[in-house]
Structure formats: C-alpha cells, structure tokens
Amino acid sequence: MAEVEKPVKKYSLFSLARNALSFHQNWEKAWRSPEPKKHYNAIIIGGGGHGLATAYYLAKEHGLTNIAVIEKGWLGGGNTGRNTTIIRSNYLWDESAAIYDKALQLYEGLSQDLNYNIMLSQRGVLNLAHNLHDVRELKRRVHAIRLNGIDSEYLSPAQIKEMIPIIDISPSIRYPVMGASLQRRGGVARHDAVAWGFARAADARGVDIIQQCEVTGILREGGRVTGVETTRGTIHAPKVGIVTAGHTSVLAAMAGIRLPITSYPLQAMVTEPVKPILNSVVMSNAVHCYVSQSDKGELVLGAGIDGYNSYTQRGSLHIVEEQLAAVCMLFPIFSRLRIMRKWGGIVDTCPDASPIISKTPVEGLYINGGWGTGGFKATPGSGWAFAHTMARDEPHALNAPYALDRFTSGALIAEHGAAAVAH
C-alpha cells in the first residue's frame, strides 16, 4: 500500500516543552478547514467518531485519500460528544463479541496509533444483577464472552463490595445487588479526544474534513450514487457512506431508503467534581443507571431513553429522576452530590439492539448506523470494518452479519440484554 505521509507535528512531552518556550505559538492546526472540492473518490456523511474513523482507516488501510468527511455542525458534536464513554466488549452473541472486541483491541493502541492521547482508562466495567433473571442472563453472557476468548468474570456481592466499597449491597434495599459481571479491560475514554484524534490523523493523511456543511440530498443516477447536495454546493463522489447516528433515517430517506430505525432522546449528566470516590464503571440495566467518575472528578451518569421519537437533543425530566433515584439506591452517599449539567443526544435504535453496517440497494451508497445507546465503544472497529466495506464494496466478515437484509431474513442479533439500557 502506497502511503503518502504528510509531515505531522508529533505530540510528545518533548514537543510540549519546546513549544512552551515559544508560548505555544507554533503548534500546527490539528486539522485544516478546507473548502469542499467538487469531486472526491468517497464521501463520508457525518463527522462523528465513526465517520472520522472510517475516513482514517480508508486512508490508512485502503490508500484512499481523496475523500471528504462532511459534517453539518462541528466534528464530534453528535453522540460522540455527548456519550458516557463506556467502552467494553462483553456482548452475548459471537457476531457482537467479534466486532466490539476488535474495537476494544484497536482502542488499546489508539493513543499511539493516532499520536493523540485518548485517555483510555481500563478501570473495569461492572454490570449488576438485581434478580434471579438478571443473574442467569449475566452468567450466560459471562460464559459466552469467556468462551469467545474475551476477558470476563462473575462477581459475588461481597466481591463487588471489595472493589467498590461505597456501593450498598445490603439485602434490604429495594432491588438488592445479587452479583455482577466484570470486564476488567472495559473502561472509559475521553470522547472528544477520540473524535479529535481520528480527525487529526485523517487530516494528516489528506482527508478533507468539511464542517458546517449539511448534506441535504443524495444524488443518484440509474440506481447508483453520484454525490451529495449540501448547504455548500454539490459534491460528487462514486461512493458515499452515511454515518450520521441519530439522523440515519433522515439521510437514508434522501436516498429513498426506509430503515428499521427509531431515533430517541438519550440523556446524560455530570455532577460537580469531587476527589476520587469511584474507581470502576458501574452499570445496572434493571434499575436503569450507569455511572463512572471522570479524570476531572465529575460523576458521569447516564439515564434511560425517553419513550418517544425526538430530534431535539433534550429529554424529559422524569427519566432523569428515575435514574438518579436508582443511583441513590445503589450509592446512598451520592444523594448530596449535585448535578452540574445534563444534556441529551439522539440515538438511532434498531429492533434487535444491534447496528447496521451495510451496503444498500443503491449502488455505492453505504450505511453505518443504528448503534443506539452503545456505539462509542465500537468507534474504531466500526470505522475499520466500514472502511473495508466501502473500499471493497463488500462487507468484511466482521460486519457481514450486520447487513440490512437481516431484517428480511430474520437473522437478527438480539443484544437487548447487553444493551437494553443506554451506556
């Protein structure tokens, strides 16, 4: 593969020190802000993590560099910029385990690969069980994951308490903690850094990242895609990838495609920062809460989805109240911490709680979406597989099961257990 290396100003402690002497006047731009060209070899619609990763791997793995990422707002401003950043690969089915663990493996080397510290913090992710059904389902997942060659353990309440002394495991709480699965390799990463790192690295390989440019139409001729209409003019390309998360249906509709996707509000919030108090990521589907503490000290908390379609990027208060009541049940000492900010995202969910990474009936048009409440963890893997699909016009084995036709054949990948609630 012929790679055209552009000079990158490498980030390192050394370059930081050198720049400090010149008052940081000489850093290069992390990415350019180019004018859109009239024609590209491929266009990625959506400058979220998945879109940027796709562009990066198209350039890096497939030598495709005359490509553009078109973003209607600011890059990383979609769900990538508003998620609770939980990363894990503890999914039930083989198909899921494969792609999510590919993503986790890429994450494990990503800071170095991108030369951008994405602050991957593998502090362990616990999924709690609160009733016998949960216990059974969690154990099923723990065993499946282990046999897929991925790290996974089951913890008793006492072991949970040992890891997280502030959690209430007493049998007298309304829904007592009966056990948990633990993936030690799971954790969190700095969401913005993932988007920015991919953007910078893609830009360095020649990818044009065009922000403040909304795609308003998808051009087709004789069943083939030929380009896109945008708020900054028409741009032609023989290959177009839709990677627009919450707006997947909106973009697909521009090409006359109906999808099995519904977009819901999903809310998250942060508390005021406090000194380290919680060292792992704790998730509970049964009582709807998930929480971790960021490096800056805030608790990052996620709620369940609102029950109705909406593109407003805000949600209802009662959803947040239910979730915070659950947090107070598990962590009674948190009742006096305060929420400093809460916000919403738009998640595109599929009936089987698994994504779509697929060719479409329109030749040259590809879709990567439907990640719902859990696609951040998949970002590099998703981009990697989607780049393969776009470059070769055929899915990689990793994403072949995620084709659109599974809804016709019935071969769904039901991950509700792994993904029933947001995370």
Partner: protein, 1001 residues
C-alpha cells in the same frame, strides 16, 4: 477574629442576631442575614481557596450564583457538602466551612507546584502527552485524578430527606427582582394563579444591593409593599430560596427549593424540595450577571465584580477592601465607586477604558472627588494572596496595546465591571434562540418554542424604570394570554431615569506584552482557563466555540461559565478574525441553572419507597413463615421457606418432594388474569394465540402461546372458557400488564370491529395452588358442592363452587405435572383460606412451596418459562411446540415463520441435559460446546436455560437450547467452566412422567 470590615451601620443584616461560625478552624462572627461570603469579608478573610489546575490563591469575586472562586467544603461527617459557593450559603449559628482543593491549607498549598509548570500545561496538554509507554497512562491517570476534583464527596449516609411537589399555574415568574416582582403583582391582580420563584432568601434581586429609589422613596419600601400585597392574593405563591433550575418542553419548569437554611437535625421537614411546575405562561425575569473585565492576573484575591462590591456594602454592610480601585468600561460601576467613597474606603479611583466618560454617574463621581483615569487599563496586579497594587497604562488608538508610562496604584480591592449579560439560560434550555446585540455586546433572547418571555435585565433592560414598566406589562400580558384579563387601575411605580453612556467593549485588555506572556488573563476562574488558552485552541484549529469550550474546558465548571463564557466566546471570535461574536455564538445552555442534588431529583423514591412492593393477600403470612423472597417485577414472591437450620437446597428439596409425594401449596396470586368478554372473544383469541379457540367447551381450559409479529414467543398461559362469549386468560406474572396492553392495542387500533372487552382481574382473586397426590383429599375436606374426582373434574377443566364456604373457581391445571387444583377465591379471603388449608393440611404433609420449587418441578416436566427458556429469539418450533401452531388460521407472528432464518437447520432447540456426575448441578447460563476442551475461543452450540437438583429424581437435571439439539439426543456435549469442563448427555426435555399419568390422576 473581629469583623474589621463591617460598617458601623447599614445593610439588611440583623445586628441583633450575632452568629458564630468557623472557617478553616478559625472562630468568626457574623449576623443573621449574612452569607458566608459577606461574613468572611467582614472578618477580613481574603483567601478562600485554590484554583483547580494551577492552585492559585483565590478570594471571593461575586455575591451570588455566579461566584466561581469561593467554593468551600461545608460541615463535616454526615452533613458535609462539597463545592458550596460561599456567596450562596446563608450564615447560621455554628456553621463550619473549610477550603477545598489545597493541602495543607489555602495559605500554603503544596499542590501550588503545579503553577511552576504552568507553561507545560496549556489547554489540552494531556492530549499531547502521557502516551509513552502505552501502559503508563494508568499511573499518570492516578495522579491526575488525585489532583483534580475540588471538594470531597460525603462518605456517610445522608441524614436528610428530600421531596417533590407538582403544581400548575397560569403564570410562573422566574426571579423576584424589580421586573419579576412587578410582573407577579400585575399578573396576581388579575386573579391568575401565579408562582413567583427567586433563588435568594429575600425578594428584590439587584435592588437589595442598591441605594435605588422607587416613587421617590427607598426601593425597600416598594419591595415590602409588593411582597405584602402578594401575600394577600389567594392564588399567588411566593417561593424564596427557590431556583428555577430547568425549563423543559411545553412550559414545564423544574425548581429547587431549599427549605432549611440551616441543615435541620432530622425532623419532619425535608432539606430540599424539587418542584415540577406546569405553567401556562412563563415570565423570565432572571436579571443580568455582571461580566468581569479580562486583564492580566485578574484572578488575584481582591479582584471582584463591581456590582458585588456594591452589594456587600449596601446589603451586608461590609466593605470588601480598604483601598479600592474601580475598573470599568461602563457607567454602572461608578455607583460602586461612589458607594465605596461614601463608606469611607480610601483612595477610591476609577480606571475607565473609555475616553472622557461624561455621563450622569461619572459626573457625580467626579463631584464626589473620585479620580477618574480614562482611556486606560490595568496591565498588571501585584500581590499573590491579596491584591497589593495595580499597574495602569493608557490604551493605544485601537486598544490593542498600551502606551505611555505605567502608574502604580496601591490598593487591596479592584472592583471591575465589563457590563452585564442578560440571564438567558432558562430561555435557552427549552430550545430558545439568542441573538447578539452588537452595539451593546450582549446576547438577547430571540425566538422561543415555549409560551414565555424574557423581561427586565434578563432582556437587556438595565434601567430600573424600564424594568418596572416591563414587569407590569409582561405580567398583565401573560395573565391575559392565560385567560385573565381583569384590568387594574393602580398607578405604576416609577424610578428616576439615569442617563448612562454606552460601554466601550474591549474583550481582553492588553498588557505590556502579548497576551499570555505577562501574567494570565483568566476567563474561567474555576477551571483556570485563560485568554491564551482560547487563542491556542483557535490556533490549533478548534474553531467551533464548542470545540474551544471542550478543548480548554471553558465554562465547564460548577458555575458553568456564568461570568467567563461570553468574554471567552468574544475572545475566540477575535482570535478567529470574526468581527461579530454573534457569528461564533454561545455554547448550549443546559439545565440545571445552578447545581441540584441527586437527592432532590430522587425525591421520595428512595429507601423502602424506591419502588412499590406489590403484595399478594397472603404476603404477610409468607413473611411470618420466614420465606426468602424473589423479586418478580414489583412483586415479592416467596422463593422458598427455609426451616431452622435449613440451607436453600434442603428447603427446596423438601418442598419438591412434598409436591410429588404429599401435597404442597403455592401462592400463585401474582399470575395475570384478564377477563375477556364479547361475541367476538373467541375470534379475538384465535388471532392472538397460535392455536384455535372457537371449539373450546365452556368450563374447559386450554394452554395458549402468544407471539410477537416477528414470530418470537412473547407469553403463554392457560385460558378458560367461562361462557359462550366469556373467557378468563392467565398470563405470566412479569408480563401481566404487557399482555393486557397487547390485547388492547390490537383491539383498539387494528381490530375495532371486534366486539370484545378486556378487564384485568389479577387483583380480584387470590390463587392458591394445591399440588400433589393428597391435594384432592385435602380439598375435598373444604368443599361439598364440587365433585373432585378425576372423571367429574378432569384435567384442564374448571368448576365454580365453594371452598371453605368461600365462593371459588377451581381450575384443574398444572404447572408441575402433578395432579393439582388452582383455587381462586376473592382476594380478601385469600389469607383465611390459606391459613385454613395450612392447618388442615398437616395430616397430609402439606408444605408451602415457593417459586424455586415450582421451577424445579416444572423443569422435571420440561415445561418452559417464558423469559428463561425463551429470550426474544425463540420461536415455538425451537421449543418443540409445533403442535400448538394452527394451520387453519392466521395468527400474530405466523408469517414470520416463512422467513429463511426460521427455517434454518441449525436453530437452537430445547433439550434436556443430564450431567455425567448426577450431583453436578450446571450453572444456569453456562455455555455448551461440542468439543471437550477449555481453551477459548471455542465455538458455542447453546446454553443452559434451567438447571436444578431434582430431589424427586435424586440427580441434577437441566434444560438447554442447543443448536440442532433434537438431532443430538444421546450425544455428549461439554460445558466448560473456569477451571473445569463438565460433560453431559443430551436428552429429551421431559424427565418425569412423560405420559402425564400423574397429571390426569
């Protein structure tokens, strides 16, 4: 410490009520009406804490919700609270507060070493380093985390309570300043239902800190009169200490009320109350926040907002310094200069960025003998722990630099004003837009999706007289729109109009060197974000205001950038070469306006009330019998009943044996029961269930399976025909509500032509299941109007009669494979009958059994449990239930069987498993493989769905879903567990009585 900065008189504090408190262990005094901040200033405290990143000494900079610096840890132990703004803590007797984020203390803080490396720590430095070696981040992170985080979380359980309240009103007025009070009065007078909420302890807003006059008298008179008039209006509710923290769709607001200024020592009152308000109209009169001037080293303790300095003087009777410089770009700050001078503060002078300020207020100041240095800026501040002097220079022609000689002014207080920003936060929460008023350099509320209006200072109206006018008009208007049009003839109050000249807006003030090279120009004091950081972000391509925010963390601290955001955005605009900051825009305003506790959001839904506990009529009997509970949805069901010294296994074995050898009694009341009536009832069931219902005889029962349209099993249960047009359906416990919802959905939305009514009767009946060979004998003792013989009362039939003189429906159905009778009696007799059966049953060996034994018994028979043998991916054929799929009619889900995936040859099918070692009980959820090995990855062919020790068989049994399982009967499969591999033989899934003889017996 004595209150060295307390004025001899003045202020709204109550000098007759002295209060004692401690700060960092030092005893101090203040008065009722003080905030912690005003009391600290009174006591001469300057240094309150250290900053987040550089650990620079910091003091108090504001007097309200915008305070970014003065955060304290309030109290300790059970009542400790982190990161509390000293400006919002009402002083109370015995208060104790300490500085945060410094060690050992704010005066000498070891973490201040960070500031030595500040040059290595520009915005986003962590993205550029700590990457080598890859594994080392863990260790770096450990130290980063320890350094971050401000205050400490409480570590002991919360002794306080929180509650919630729902209210509706015609007009919600946010903010009780001049504009808000006027609006509430105007709306209240029309008879509308009005809520006026203000975050402070007193109404009045900005007026509390001013010497303003209304109707020619001190404004406090008008305030008091207004407040008492509101108190007399029946449908007006005034809520003080109540912050409207969020504004949501369809005019819904969330408010947080602090109910006890001092934390109570327990008792009936809740500490905080969260209000849900549904308003017809919302009037946002939230005022304006003063913005600081951004100059070199503007973070030194003693650099404060000019309005705040005035508030401390007028409202609290304290002077924030003894030697003051006022630094401004507008006229308003001259009020502060005059007030300082009046309070006897020395050396008061005004440094104004404008050329020859000439308005009413500057003129007054000059007349009062205050020196005014025009066209100038502060270029530097000396003094680390408190301001000692400022250096002042003249601005050059375009204000991009300074010229001429530097003058030094010794001072311990710098009161700065960069103008005011309307509080448009709430307007924005619910989708409202903002536009930039270029002339005045501020963002104003524009289009909104809600029925609301911003008024007064919140709408950029800074003249008191205009605020009053605006308030009355807006209040009347809102009431009228809500349907209350009564006119009031009262004369509107007026205030003198002060002619104020325009401000001169220079977002970042120059110093002698390029910005960033002499001192630091702080934008976000709490997060230590400087102008240089924003410029760096712009230079590095983080051009969007949202990128800059995230890259620098500007506005992401607990104050959410109330003072720093707007200057920050303007600085970004400049750095990008964008002329109009409006084109850069604001970042998104999000709730809450000020932080809200988790406890308040949770309200009453904590502890035992976290979620309803649903109880059957026999619940308390089970509890007294010492049962262990299983949570099934909101129900508590008896799981098993251990006797003294019994393990779970002992108890379950005993219960299972009793059920097959004697008689056992189960509380099955939680099963869903739906009464279905109407001429089309049978047709309806035909469509809902997979099998046919038209031919079922009256008094007969039939098992049914329900699918979703994708063909997957959704629920199952037995349905009985009570009459020609009358059925009683039972559902699983967990799905009862969902199934009723499912029936109604189809009836109402798709098949309205069907004449059918569904009613839930789950709660109407207590269901007592007698199971086992002695069941009939025991039941016979209780009834004389039913023939219980197998012929007269065959399996899958129902009789009505009396049991223990109680009217009952008895069903001969069975989930255990044992001859059993499900006795249904009116719920309020359930406990009586249960007790009677229990007493009379002793001689038959009657044993109550719980859900665990029930599960074992049904597994012995290979009966499925929806949600255990199924998981939303299982079709009836997988369960070997082809027999229940009618070929003669359509039913929900049937079409999906024709899809390729349903016909796949390797689908997972229900089978039995018998382990080689009969004592080995497999783990439910364990995965099954075809090869005898334990080194992942290993392809999996299925998993164990149910697994128990069967006392009746004297060995373990399991059910499993296994790929092509029915073809594998007789094969050995393997179950790899950590550290061992278990082998098992695949069998058919029925372990006991395959012919069903016991069932019919």
């Amino acid at each position: 410490m004595s209150q060295i900065n307390r004025l001899a008189h003045g202020g709204r504090i109550d000098r007759s009520k002295p209060l004692h408190f401690t700060f960092n262990g030092q005893a101090m005094r203040g008065y009722a009406g003080d905030t912690l901040a005003s009391a600290l200033i009174a006591n001469g405290v300057r240094l309150v804490g250290r900053s987040f990143k550089y650990h620079r000494p910091r003091g108090i900079m504001a007097a309200g919700a915008e305070e970014a610096n003065a955060l304290v840890q309030l109290e300790s132990g059970r009542r400790t609270l982190a990161n509390q703004q000293a400006t919002r803590i009402e002083l109370y007797e015995g208060l104790s507060a300490t500085s945060i984020n410094c060690w050992p203390g704010p005066n000498f803080d070891l973490m201040a070493v960070n500031s030595w490396f500040h040059r290595l720590m520009p915005a986003g430095f962590y993205y550029k380093t700590f990457m080598w070696p890859a594994a080392a981040w863990k260790y770096y992170e450990h130290f980063i985390r320890r350094a971050a985080g401000l205050g400490v979380s409480p570590k002991l359980p919360d002794p306080d309570q929180y509650d919630q309240m729902n209210v509706h009103c015609d007009v919600l007025v946010v903010g009780g300043g001049a504009a808000g009070l006027a609006a509430a009065l105007a709306a209240g007078r029309t008879g509308a239902r009005v809520i006026l909420a203000d975050e402070q302890a007193e109404l009045g807003g900005q007026l509390l800190g001013e010497q303003a006059e209304i109707n020619g008298k001190p404004a406090s008179h008008w305030l008091a009169a207004g407040e008492s008039e509101l108190a007399g209006l029946a449908d007006v509710t005034v809520l003080k200490r109540t912050t409207v923290f969020g504004y949501y769709d369809h005019n819904f607001a969330g408010m947080l009320e602090t109910r006890t200024a001092k934390l109570p020592n327990g008792g009936a009152t809740t500490r905080q109350r969260l209000w849900h308000v549904r308003a017809k109209r919302v009037v946002i009169a939230a005022g304006a926040l003063e913005r600081p001037l951004i100059f070199s080293d503007n973070d030194r303790p003693g650099v404060m907002l000019a309005g705040a300095v005035r508030t401390y003087l007028n409202r609290y009777g304290v002077r924030a310094g003894s030697n003051a410089v006022v630094f401004t770009n507008n006229d308003d700050a001259y009020r502060t200069a005059i007030a300082l001078k009046d309070a006897g503060v020395k050396g008061v002078c005004v440094i104004d960025t404008r050329l020859a300020p000439h308005g009413e207020l500057p003129t007054q100041a000059l007349q009062a003998g205050i020196a005014v240095i025009d066209n100038s800026t502060i270029t530097g501040v000396t003094g680390k722990r408190r301001v000692q002097s400022v250096e002042v220079m003249t601005l050059n022609a375009d204000a991009s630099g300074v010229i001429g000689p530097a003058r030094t002014f010794p001072c311990d207080l710098v009161a700065t004003s960069g103008g005011w920003n309307p509080v448009i936060h709430l307007h924005s929460h619910a989708g409202g837009k903002a536009t930039f008023d270029e002339a005045r350099g501020l963002f104003i509320a524009a289009d909104t999706l809600q029925a609301s209006a911003c008024i007064g200072a919140a709408n950029g109206e800074f003249q008191l007289n205009d605020c009053l006018k605006d308030g009355f008009r807006a209040g009347r208007d809102a009431a009228a729109k809500a349907g209350f049009k009564k006119a009031s003839r009262r004369k509107l109050p007026t205030a003198a109009v002060v002619d104020e000249a325009p401000a001169r807006i220079i977002w970042a003030l120059p110093t002698t060197k390029p910005i960033g090279q002499r001192g630091k120009h702080f934008l976000d004091l709490q997060h230590d974000v400087t102008v240089a950081d924003v410029q760096l972000a712009a230079r590095e391509g983080y051009r969007s205001v949202e990128h800059t925010k995230r890259y620098t963390t500007l506005g992401m601290a607990t104050d959410q950038g109330k003072t720093g955001n707007i200057p920050g955005m303007a600085v970004l605009a400049q750095a990008l070469g964008v002329a109009n900051p409006g084109d850069v825009g604001t970042t998104t305003f999000r709730p809450p306006y000020t932080p809200v506790t988790l406890g308040a959001f949770a309200g009453r839904n904590v502890g035992p009330l976290a979620d309803p506990v649903r109880m059957t009529p026999m619940h308390h009997w089970h509890e007294l019998a010492g049962c262990k509970w299983e949570d099934v949805g909101q129900w508590k069901r008896p799981w098993y009943y251990p006797k003294d010294g019994e393990s779970m296994a002992d108890a379950v074995n005993r219960e299972c044996l009793a059920a097959r050898n004697a008689v056992a009694l189960l509380d099955a009341s939680t099963l869903g029961k739906i009464d279905i009536q109407g001429p089309d009832a049978a047709e309806f069931l035909n469509r809902i269930y997979t099998n046919a219902w038209s031919g079922l005889a009256i008094g007969r029962c039939r098992y049914g399976l329900m699918l979703k349209e994708d063909g997957m099993v959704f629920d199952d249960g037995v349905t009985t025909r009570l009459g020609e047009n009358h059925f009683l359906m039972t559902t699983t416990t967990g799905n009862a509500a969902a199934v009723l919802g499912w029936l109604e959905e189809w009836l109402q939305t798709e098949w309205p032509e069907l004449k059918v009514y569904c009613n839930s009767v789950t709660e109407a009946w207590a269901t007592l299941t007698l199971c086992g060979p002695n069941a009939r004998h025991l039941l016979a003792e209780f009834t004389d109007d039913m023939d219980l013989s197998a012929d007269a009362f065959p399996f899958m039939s129902m009789q009505e009669g009396t049991v223990g003189d109680i009217p009952a429906r008895v069903f001969r159905i069975s989930f255990t494979g044992e001859s059993s009778f499900e006795v249904n009696v009116p719920a309020s007799y359930g406990l009586a009958l249960w007790t009677q059966l229990f007493n009379a049953g002793e001689k038959y060996g009657l044993t109550p059994y719980g859900t665990e034994a029930m599960h074992v018994l049904r597994a012995e028979k290979g009966y499925i449990i929806v949600g255990q043998e199924t998981d939303g991916t299982v079709i009836p054929q997988d369960l070997g239930m082809q027999w229940i799929l009618s070929k003669k009619k359509d039913f929900l889900g049937r079409r999906s069987f024709a899809r390729p995936d349903s016909a796949r040859g390797d689908r997972k099918q229900l089978v039995g498993l018998l382990t080689g070692d009969p004592d080995m009980v497999l783990e439910e959820g364990a995965q099954i493989v075809a090869e005898n090995r334990n080194n992942p990855p290993i392809p999996m062919i299925g998993h164990v769905t149910s697994s128990y020790y069967s006392a009746n068989l004297g060995r373990s049994i399991a059910l499993a879903l296994v790929s092509s399982g029915r073809d594998r009967v007789g094969d050995t499969v393997y179950i790899p567990m950590p550290g061992k591999v278990i082998s098992a033989e695949v069998t058919t899934p029925v372990f006991i009585d395959p012919q069903g003889e016991r069932l019919h017996g």
